[in-house]
Symmetry: C2
Subunit: 427 residues, 2 copies
Amino acid sequence: MLGRVEAIDDVAELMAGIGLRARAAAQPLSIASPEQKMTALIAMADAVDRHAAEILQANGQDMANGEKTGMAASLLDRLKLDAARIASISESIRTIAALKDPVGDIIAEWDRPNGLHIERVRTPLGVIGVIYESRPNVTADAGALCLKSGNAVILRGGSDSVHSSRAIHAALIEGLEAAGLPKDAIQLIPVTDRAAVGEMLKGLNGNLDVIIPRGGKSLVARVQAEARVPVFAHLEGLCHVYVDASADLEMARRIIVNAKMRRTGVCGSAETLLLDRLIAPVRLLPLLEDLHAAGCEIRGDQGVIALFAEAKPATEEDWSTEYLDAIISVKLVDGIGDAIGHINRYSSHHTEAVIAEDIHVVERFFNEIDSAILLHNASTQFADGGEFGMGAEIGIATGKMHARGPVGVEQLTSFKYRVRGNGQTRP
Amino acid sequence: MLGRVEAIDDVAELMAGIGLRARAAAQPLSIASPEQKMTALIAMADAVDRHAAEILQANGQDMANGEKTGMAASLLDRLKLDAARIASISESIRTIAALKDPVGDIIAEWDRPNGLHIERVRTPLGVIGVIYESRPNVTADAGALCLKSGNAVILRGGSDSVHSSRAIHAALIEGLEAAGLPKDAIQLIPVTDRAAVGEMLKGLNGNLDVIIPRGGKSLVARVQAEARVPVFAHLEGLCHVYVDASADLEMARRIIVNAKMRRTGVCGSAETLLLDRLIAPVRLLPLLEDLHAAGCEIRGDQGVIALFAEAKPATEEDWSTEYLDAIISVKLVDGIGDAIGHINRYSSHHTEAVIAEDIHVVERFFNEIDSAILLHNASTQFADGGEFGMGAEIGIATGKMHARGPVGVEQLTSFKYRVRGNGQTRP
């Protein structure tokens, strides 16, 4: 189906063409009706189900290649599709289809003394580039979210999942065509050459409005460092839980175990526990017992080690390490002020939780920490667009420009002003 | 007061220090109370008034230098301060002081089925860099707007206005000190070396969150091309007025003259008039008469020239020229579809107006054109934060990321999520 691309020059030319076609598709897409987009999404989900066998076969090729090249078991697991995973891909598209269409939404409106009526309404961003690694479901999720928000998208999947992504992409195109939408609205880059990523980072001659990297830290860091266009990215989730002297001990125990151990590999899992030094002598042990019993390694500062013999000594590096594993660093702090100081210094500005009954402590935590998500008396593992009621998300942004926190369909839009008058001129 | 900086290396070091101090000031500023910021702003305005004589004297030095180096009369007029202009600087600071404080504002809030209460609240962006040219009042406006929105700011004024800017900056610092806020909250770069701009474009080691260029096209283009941090910029205002066959002729005449001629040098002034070909034989003459009588040069396409003898022929270049002068390009189009096509091709996505009574024409104009501001039956010269009721603005953004249209205090903020629970853990 796809011709071979022979040289770097060809990649630049190929990518320039993809950019031009995406920009051309963005215009009809931006004015497509909610019904038309919904029709396309439902047809996409149906096509994924209908072509399940072909998608599984393509995935089998990727799995065979992965096994041959010695891919790690955890990566092979991410790559693998089966009937249930394909059903969850189509289900996810149907969920996105059912979301409220954000385009044209009136965010604010007001009247001026001279009679002008001003509306601020949501518009698509334009062309979105998504660069991701081995999870084939991102092809469907990103394609569907961008379509719902009226944006054209250029998908650059990982070379490990190239066959799976192409098979899923073919189903998305069937959906676009069924609804009479341009098939260039969702383009999958047909080569796995790294130069294609380089061209995206340069912005495709102004035809790419934002890049969303989804993958490991090295991919995200490269995109952030080199991109000449805006990036919605999440570098890491170094999330903290602070247990105040006023905390309800039983609640704190439940929340800490959940925040750390429910799933250790997600960005919202807790990596550092801060405990008010005042209550450490009586509260530290019960707080750490459950974690330890659940198989979590404890790395503590001197105060922690003095009270909990099983703890290993934490080094300076531990305070800035996202383990994504059953390990937690634990530090005693001198109250809320010290906790805030530690978090503002080491946090990746993703998600932090405070366990406290003292409302003044909570308000200081909420006001003085500048992270995307701050929680009171709840687990950090709620850091997720679905849990926020925003529907599907394309990731959690830790930057502060435009999108922050879960990036759902609303965050994939911009806005414009519509001003209605009856002949007003400016004096 | 300020030592000489001898070499480029010193500039890099100087700028790194400015970045570090701005980042340090941003934290106390982000949690300063609305009252404290208002106190500072009022004290700044008072200090500007109190030091009017010194500011005028400093401005006299800049004016003398400008005259000596042969600065154009229009630039000298921009640079010149007098008692009235100083009064308008302090008045503008007082207006900003009286605006609603955006920080901590709850933009949205909702409950989840599990009892979590989610709030999305406004937060400052952090550190803002403003790069501007010869207008000394920008020093005060930018300093005050950034303070009101809880941001630290690094100001890089033009070398032509260096003495005026320093004198105004000294008054701003008095205001900060009167309110107990860190004086590093508003820093004016003490050198006029262009290398300082280069350091800002590189982002000051992560200590600069956004750059706002205010000045001519070459400055803005350089910032957009080279900045490694987000930019809120307005490259140009190539604004269109489309007069539909359904337009009220008298209204169209009034609006066109106002949109073009009220002030020709502002970004919201109209540069191109599009007229429905159907009505051209009877409507073109009355529409152009007033413009012509007001001294506006008319450059038209063939159809326009055939009907209006005084028009000069427009070249292809005219459709993409922001005259900022008493010149207008005029084109006959085949209805709303053709008008939309022309605007989407040539517009700078700033502001466009439609004069029409047919509601379907208006809706197409509003939906299918992707510019920051779209007006119906009103002059393009309303494209201004003050006219929008947003108070003072730092510029009009023509980009689509984060800020779009007038950039006032709300657009200088980001947001975070505050989630209140009572022990929720994620299943």
